[in-house]
Every structure is written in structure tokens, then in C-alpha cells.
């Protein structure tokens, strides 16, 4: 293809943007660089495109955004003083916010109660970290002890029930064989001497069991006497 000045001018942007390839590009460059009209034109356009690409985007005036909002959404009323405060309060008076406030208050009350802070007689000393820790520790131990006692009591009841069922089946055997050994007197705080490692609650259960066994033995004899 024979490149003329008109053709060079028509394809100038294609060349600058890399759309000409291979022999076409080479022929373009050969003419453009050697032609006294095309060479300065190519240089000036190349420089101009570079300058325009380097031109920075201008900052819009700050008031433009507000002016746009006024034109589209309408002017906003600015409220000051008591009206602004009342608007804020009205905005907070929603069920969602009230529920959140109630939840937060309940949580605070529970936490304060667990930490030992008395709401009836509040003391600033109760809010010390050491006081909170001690109260929380004491509360935790109390809850643990109560739960252990509850479980142990349930166990006692279960054992009594199971023994009673067992004894009903064994009522046919000789009463002398069922007579239990007298249990030694126990002072409060002492554990069973036979099994010193057993906890106090287990000793109490064993004592109750022996008493019930004695009762079960005596019950038939009582029934025979009443029958006569």
C-alpha cells in the first residue's frame, strides 16, 4: 500500500493506539518520519495525546453535591435547639429501640446481681474488680454446691426406692438374717469408718438404707400382732 499524507492523517490515531501491525506499521513509520508535513503533525498529536492523558480530573465544588440534592430531593429543613432534641427523641421512640434498651438493662441487672452489687443498697465499693471477682467466685461455688446437693438427694431417693423394691422381694427370708448390724454413732462431720474415703452424702444414704431395712423387717411382725 502506498501511504500518502492524507492516508497518514486518516490513520494517525490508529497508529498512536497501536492498531497498525507488522508491515502496515513499518510503512506508516517510513513515510511519517520522512515526510516534512507528516513528521511534525505526528509529533504534535503524539505530544498532545500524552498531555491530555496526564491532565488531572478536576475536583467538583463541594456545594455541587448539596445543590444536586436540593434540586432532586428538595431543600432540607435545618432544625436547631429544642426541636432538634425532640426530633432525636421521637426517632428513638421505636419498638425496636425500646426492646434493645430493655435487653441491655436486663443484662446489666443480671451481671450486677451476679457480681454481688446490691440494687437496694448500692455501694461504690462493690464495683471494685476484687469485690466483683470475690462475689462471682462465691456465687459460682454456691451454685455448684447446691447443684451437687440436689443431685445427691436425687441419688438418695433413687437408692431408697431401689432398696425398697429389693426388700419387698426378700420379705420371705428369715428376719434374723436381715437384721443389720447396729451402726456406730456418728458425730456430725465424721465419715463412715469402714469407708473413710466416701463422701458424707453417701454415708447418709447408707444410714437411711439401714433404717429402712430395719423398718421393713419389723413391718411384717407388726402386721401379725395387729392381725391377732
Amino acid at each position: 500500500m502506498t501511504w500518502t499524507c492524507d492516508l497518514i492523517e486518516a490513520r494517525l490515531s490508529d497508529y498512536l493506539e497501536g492498531l497498525l501491525q507488522g508491515p502496515e506499521r513499518a510503512e506508516f513509520e517510513t513515510h511519517a518520519n520522512s515526510c516534512t508535513d507528516c513528521a511534525p503533525l505526528l509529533a504534535s498529536v503524539r505530544s498532545l495525546v500524552g498531555e491530555m492523558h496526564a491532565m488531572e480530573e478536576l475536583e467538583a465544588p463541594p456545594r455541587l453535591v448539596y445543590a444536586i440534592l436540593d434540586k432532586t430531593l428538595g431543600p432540607r429543613e435545618t432544625v436547631t435547639g429544642w426541636e432538634a432534641f425532640l426530633n432525636l427523641v421521637r426517632g428513638l421512640a421505636t419498638p425496636k429501640f425500646a426492646y434493645s434498651v430493655a435487653s441491655v438493662m436486663a443484662t446489666l441487672i443480671i451481671i450486677l446481681g451476679a457480681s454481688g452489687f446490691s440494687l437496694r443498697k448500692p455501694k461504690l465499693a462493690d464495683l471494685r474488680p476484687a469485690a466483683i471477682y470475690q462475689n462471682a467466685d462465691r456465687q459460682a461455688h454456691l451454685v455448684f454446691a447446691r447443684s451437687v446437693k440436689y443431685v445427691s438427694d436425687l441419688r438418695v431417693v433413687y437408692e431408697i426406692q431401689s432398696r425398697l423394691r429389693q426388700d419387698e422381694n426378700n420379705l420371705q427370708t428369715a428376719p434374723e438374717e436381715l437384721l443389720p448390724k447396729s451402726s456406730p454413732e456418728k458425730n456430725p462431720g465424721q465419715t463412715d469408718q469402714q469407708k473413710p474415703s466416701q463422701p458424707r452424702q453417701q454415708n447418709r444414704a447408707n444410714q437411711l438404707t439401714r433404717q429402712l431395712e430395719m423398718l421393713a423387717v419389723e413391718l411384717p411382725m407388726l402386721g401379725e400382732r395387729s392381725g391377732r
Partner: protein
Amino acid sequence: MRRHSRRIYNICYRFTGNRTEAEDLSQDVFLRVYRTLGSYRSAHGGFATWATSVTRNLLIDHYRRTKRDRITDSLDDKMPIVENKESAGRRPDEQALLGELSMQVQSALTRLSPELREAVILRDLQQLEYAEIQTVLAVPEGTVKSRINRGRIELARILQQMGVGPA
């Protein structure tokens, strides 16, 4: 909205060369967009492309309306506006040179015909792709390339006449 308003403001300013007109036209663009949002369809391209089309249409309407009244604007309106963050890293003399060059290019732009001016602004100042410019101007891609090319050459000749040589 700040991002869109900045871009539309730049297109309006580069086209009109006047800060006040650019602000007014930017507001009109957003008002037109706000009122006709229901007619926007994805077939028109992305929202940015559609907003650019609305901008271009308003600029052409404004140009035709003010054609008879167009006189030389005051020098103040053509002065470079606030510095951008990117310019903070340049030396003062570099910044002054670039600012002067920017003013000269802006002045030369306003001397181009509207068809060539809008094509050069969209391609070289807004960095839009040919396909997007084709959507905005609603002309074939060949016409877009032709206008961009002629606009650049014309702009270079105007700058040469103003005594501004290649850097």
C-alpha cells in the same frame, strides 16, 4: 454520588470551559437522571454510560441554545480550579507548567466543533473505550474513530497557532 458528580462535572467543564455553566449543567444532568430513572434499561449500557449519554445530550442542547449568545467568557471562569491530591507530589514549577498547559489545551478544546470536542473529551480526558463512546454518541464505531482522529489533529493545529509546541 460524589464519584458520578465529579465525572459529570469534569465532562461539562471540559466541554463548556466555564465553571459556573459546568455546575449548572451538572445539576441539570442529575435532575434529568432523577426524573427519568424509570426509563433506564440495562440495554443502554451501565448506569455510568447512561448518565454520560444524558450529560452529552444536555451539553449539545445547551450549546445550540447558547450559540448566538456565546461571547468570550471572563478570564476567571477559565482559570484552573482547585489542586487535586495527585498534584501534591509535583514541584511547584512543574505544577505551574502543567497548569498553564492544561489551560491552553482547555482553551483550544472550546474552539473545536462540538462533535469533535465531545469525542476527544470522552476518549482522551475520560479514558472511555470506543464501544462506550459509540453507545454515548449513538454513532457507529468508525464514526467515533474518525471524529477522535480529526479532533486530535484539529486540536494540535489550534495549539500550534496559539504558539504551543509539542513538549
